[in-house]
Subunit: 306 residues, 2 copies
DNA sequence: ATTATTTCATAGATTTTTCTGATTACTAAA
DNA sequence: TTTAGTAATCAGAAAAATCTATGAAATAAT
């Protein structure tokens, strides 16, 4: 059975004439005759009662088969339409993963922008650790993830988004309150609070600030289940200082008066925020659109990487 | 788009593996790969995300297309099943036409027999004149008709059923009540009542009985809209005599005491009752089954023609 | 009766499609 | 780096679909 054959019998049922049906199907009459004969043989059923001169007659069973052929062709047509409709890579669901130390600061400005520029893209967001996001990405549960370099995995491609400097957050009564810029190595003398070990930001800070974890017991300074917001509140409470990514701090934050923000001494330690996707992911256009949109987000003090 | 291609993408979605899917479809891997590629090009949509080594991933739009492919294939399967189910020529509707002078006497015994021997055949009966039945048969509104010879039309085939003698019906106080057999030519002297001109039986009687219409005005003896039953009642009332086909009279009719039945003198005039169908009608088996069944009906005084 | 016409079936040639086996390109793992 | 596994590609063979031309059957016209 072939869709073509079904088209032929439907045409004959409409035209009541083999020749005209063949014309309507843009084939020669023998082609159509043979195709129908083949279908009749396959089904072992006579669909048409041929009588030369006079018009074709459809058998009772033939009518039933033709009715069903209509349904099959209709559903096939629907398949084409579904494909056509979903062809736009900027439509349908898009599952985006973002690491914990980026999501809360990027997404509030990104999501409204995306819903404006690509309204057909139904964004689904997941926040998690880099490792978890990567697994989901690899398995296809996510379409793209926003993470921080270094990130080099087989089968995964990445593109940088922006370079984000780190800053130091101090209680506003801290001894450094009048300093302009902090050299990273000075942190070694301080009570530095950091996120738990699942967060890549923790490792990046440790790498950037020599011996910063050398003073007190590491456990007391690590907030295993916490978030940057928790740490920020603890800084405000005077428990210690911390290092934050630049985008986590509003530029003109007057309401954060309990905390002083100090830049690192140049060259400031920083992280490269990037977007990653599977090498063979078919909707690359969606990725690039999201990347461009992110790069137009109003983010504080970051350097866009084109 | 091809049903085969749809089968291929469904197989790949089930096996998550081109090679295994190809095996399941009993084709080589390149065959399947190329077919899917062709479909993807036709739909202009990427259905699968290929990454060698690791498993195949179905794109979002691909999943929608595959779901629809399931539906198309299911409906195609249903088409096969419909054809399979309706394959039996002894099932489905069968529209049988019968002329007025046969139907009332044949059908009461035929229909129960047919429902017993071919229970799947849904019989639909129409009684009418020969000319009307023939038109319906030619147009396909009827599958077969039961008529009386002569009947020779292009594109129509016939088979005789039985030879039915004519008989004379007299009021039981008629002068001929003690005669054994009536020569046809004797009817010329009588008040003979006949059916209207649409009935072939009328012409057959006129042809068989020379000058039978010569006596009174023809109009007075012709019952234009009537039936054999009407005439029979008029015979009983003494209005005149008539000629009837043998099967219209019960063999042992004691309740017809108002009427005497006399055979014609041998060779009795008679009519050949036959069944007719379109030459190219595809369910000939049904025709022959009906013919055989008719020939086993308990009909009075007819001679079966094999 | 004969001829012409209409209509579907058939035959042979041709083109197109499909299929296969071998090979290649690519990836990931050992 | 090598090895193994996977899908894509290629070339040639097989199968199919299609076309043109012709044939057969049944009317309709002459």
């Amino acid at each position: 059975m072939t869709l073509t054959e079904l088209r032929y019998i439907v045409a004959v049922s409409q035209k009541n004439h083999f020749g005209k049906a063949a014309q309507a199907c843009f084939v020669s009459q023998p082609t159509l005759s043979i195709a129908i004969k083949k279908l009749e043989e396959e089904l072992d059923v006579r669909l048409f009662e041929r009588s030369s001169k006079n018009e074709i007659r459809i058998t009772e069973i033939g009518q039933q088969v033709i009715n069903q052929a209509y349904i099959v062709l209709q559903q096939a047509q629907l398949l084409s339409e579904i494909a056509q409709q979903g062809k736009d890579p900027l439509s349908g669901q898009f599952k985006l993963g973002v690491i914990y130390t980026i999501g809360p600061y990027l997404l509030p400005s990104l999501i409204p922008l995306l819903t404006k520029t690509v309204p057909n893209l139904k964004l689904i967001i997941e926040e998690n650790f880099t490792a978890t996001l990567f697994q989901s990405l690899k398995q296809g549960a996510l379409d793209a993830i926003i993470i921080s370099y270094p990130f080099d995995e087989p089968g995964i491609e990445t593109a940088p988004l922006y370079e984000e400097p780190f800053i130091v957050a101090l209680p506003n009564n801290h001894a450094w309150k009048d300093r302009d810029a902090i050299p990273p190595e000075d942190l070694a003398s301080q009570d530095l609070m950091l996120l738990g070990s699942g967060h890549c930001f923790r490792e990046q800070v440790i790498k950037a600030c020599p011996n910063c974890m050398s003073g007190n017991s590491e456990l007391t300074r690590t907030l295993e289940g916490g978030s940057l917001e928790t740490i920020r509140h603890m800084v405000a409470a005077g428990t210690g200082i911390t290092v934050l990514p630049r985008t986590s701090v509003m530029h003109d934050s007057k309401n954060e008066s309990m905390i002083d923000i100090k830049p690192f001494k140049s060259p400031s330690p920083s992280r490269t925020v990037a977007i990653a996707w599977r090498k063979h992911y078919p909707r690359k256009e969606a990725i690039f659109t999201i990347r461009n949109t992110i790069q137009t987000c109003p983010l504080n003090g970051v350097e866009i990487i084109h």
